[in-house]
């Protein structure tokens, strides 16, 4: 099978997954014990007005029709109006997506690169103290919940030492000439530091352990012995051959990290009042703003599914041995 049909199949799978998730969302919100619209509508409305409002939200039609409408709207990226913000959901999410991105992209980058390097180092110093230390550290990073770490960091650096702000992306009173200006400003950097530091350890743990494990397995391969027999220096064997072969699993397990980053992201955004997608998901659920919740959830799911797909494509280009089956 050629690479093209492999990619096409993966694409199809991604679309199906997206479809299933969308349907699950629809079902979940329709089986909610309380009529979601009632939450937003004041109980003092007359039955006639109430009926009109329901019609406005399209909630008076039979389920199948609602489903069809729902799908059509979803395709057009129309998720309705937020009950509380009185704005189209898509606009709110678009705004917040950038904020989440400027937080998560650096965090993921740092976590992955630091993690890979540490894992490689642990494998290089196999059996000695650095290796053991890295193993313990990585486990601790996975075990301390990121919200606990965030609170500790906030306590030390924001409350006690007063070095860093205690939340938000920029201080409410600041103004900037453009978005780009905003994101490179010192103020922004001060605000983004703690959230990133809170989430990186959790994201880093898996790459560290994976890199270490993969390296150790690779180092046992016959071609590594052959490289030594060829008279290559230990360093060259390690970097050119061992590391090179160990990077591939790191790519294929990206989806796992992506999944974890969603979790970390929601927690960290909530604690630091970071105006991103994670925090809006939680807030909208707590307030009963269902259109916004749906939109946020679907956006996150779409990102995950798309991320999985991109990883599959990248992997197919990187490994010369891939068999498409």
């Amino acid at each position: 099978m050629s690479r093209q049909s492999y990619i096409l199949r993966r694409l199809l799978q991604a679309v199906v997954a997206l479809f299933v998730v969308t349907t699950i969302m629809f079902v979940l919100f329709r089986i909610a014990p309380s009529d979601p619209a009632s939450v937003a509508l004041s109980p003092s409305l007359s039955p006639k007005l109430r009926q009109a409002k329901l019609a406005q939200f399209g909630l008076d039609k039979p389920l199948i029709v609602q489903y069809k409408l729902y799908l059509q709207n979803a395709l057009a990226l129309n998720f309705g109006q937020s009950y509380f913000y009185r704005e189209p959901v898509s606009r709110i999410l678009a705004r917040r997506m950038t904020n989440t991105f400027v937080l998560m992209a650096p965090a993921l980058l740092i976590a992955y690169s630091l993690g890979t390097v540490l894992g490689g180092w642990a494998a290089w110093r196999r059996g000695h103290t650095p290796d053991r230390a890295v193993l313990v550290a990585a486990t601790l990073f996975r075990s301390v919940p990121s919200f606990v770490l965030s609170l500790v960091l906030l306590y030390v650096f924001s409350f006690k030492l007063q070095w860093l702000p205690n939340g938000h992306m920029v201080s409410p009173t600041a103004s900037f000439s453009s978005n780009v200006q905003k994101f490179v400003s010192v103020a922004f950097l001060k605000h983004v530091l703690l959230p990133v530091v809170s989430i990186v350890p959790f994201l880093m743990a898996y790459p560290v352990l994976l890199m270490r494990t993969t390296m150790l397995e690779t180092l046992n391969e016959d071609f590594i012995t052959m490289c030594h027999a060829k008279g290559l220096t230990a360093r060259r064997v390690f970097v050119d051959h061992a590391v090179r072969n160990s990077l591939i699993p790191l790519i294929t397990t990206m989806p796992i990290i992506l999944g974890l980053s969603v979790t970390g992201n929601i927690l960290v955004e909530s604690i630091y009042s970071w105006p991103g997608i994670g925090s809006v998901l939680v807030q909208s659920l707590l307030k009963g703003d269902y259109p916004l919740s749906q939109g946020a959830f679907l956006l996150i799911a779409a990102i995950i599914i798309a991320g999985n797909f991109v990883v599959d494509v990248v992997y197919s280009m990187v490994d010369p041995r891939i068999e498409y089956n």
């Binding site: 391969e221 490289c227 008279g231 050119d240 490994d319």
Partner: protein, 344 residues
Amino acid sequence: MLEVRDLRTRYTLGEDEELDAVDGVSFEIGEGTVFGLVGESGCGKSTVAKSIIRTLSRNGSVVDGEIRFKGTDLLGASPAELRRIRWEEIALISQSAMNSLDPVYTAGEQIREAIRAHRDVDAEWMDARVQELFEVVGIDPGRAEDYPHQFSGGMKQRIMIAMSLVLDPDLIIADEPTTALDVVNQDTILHYLERLQEETGASILLITHDMGVVAEICDRVGVMYGGHLVEEGPTLDVFTDPIHPYTVGLKNSFPSLRGAADDLITIPGSPPDLRQIGSQCRFASRCPFAVERCHREEPSLAAYGPEHSAACFRIDELGEEIARRGAERRTWYDDAVDEVGEQP
């Protein structure tokens, strides 16, 4: 060319368990000679090879003995010196050609890498050399930039041979070069090895469990069992007039060297557990000629012909009788003592 004296290599296995996979092995390989090291799996022959170029695994180490290559002490050589000697002077053809090439680099790249590690030459020279070598081993030079997985097993083995020749080494260690191949490819590979040896004048240390392979191209042969060298000499002598009971048994178990197949024997029993062996002849428990002394002392190599030696206490007494009686089935199945495995 290569002198191995009293080599002892030890493996540590987990909880304080050790075994000496090679226990006092000595032999010499002259210039331009093909020396075969033959024995059952687990007898230590591969370990000998790895000890020479020091590619033992993490839990293995040479604990005694001397290895001299063209006069240089290999065991005491510095890491830098060792790296220089590797490939430039001693090359390795490994038994698992399937896995001896890095899957993410092309064949040509890996050969060039070997050159770059030792010589400072320009790209043209390297490319020319790669093409030349591919032709020598009979693979289309246009495929030099293909990846290992695109070659068949036999071709990969030939690439290994090509790669081993790239710096004109004086000694090639071929560790079971044909084991993983089918019979047709085996023949081809041996054929190449022989031709190359004649053309380049390199010495070859050929390690195998297949007596037939040894008979084909080796000038001299050493028979190993349980970490010991039990017989050594010119191939013809060892094969036509084996002295040691084990060699005699081996000879009589290979169809290519005997007539009718129903005269074949198998040596009952199995190799000893080297973790618990004491000082004794390693073959004693399976040997039909063993006496009490064989279980108490280790015999050493003694000469019985101009260049032919064997390690056995009973040779002086029995001499040619060993070869004669060893050819009969009855010797092995009625007289075998101690740990007899399965009766046929």
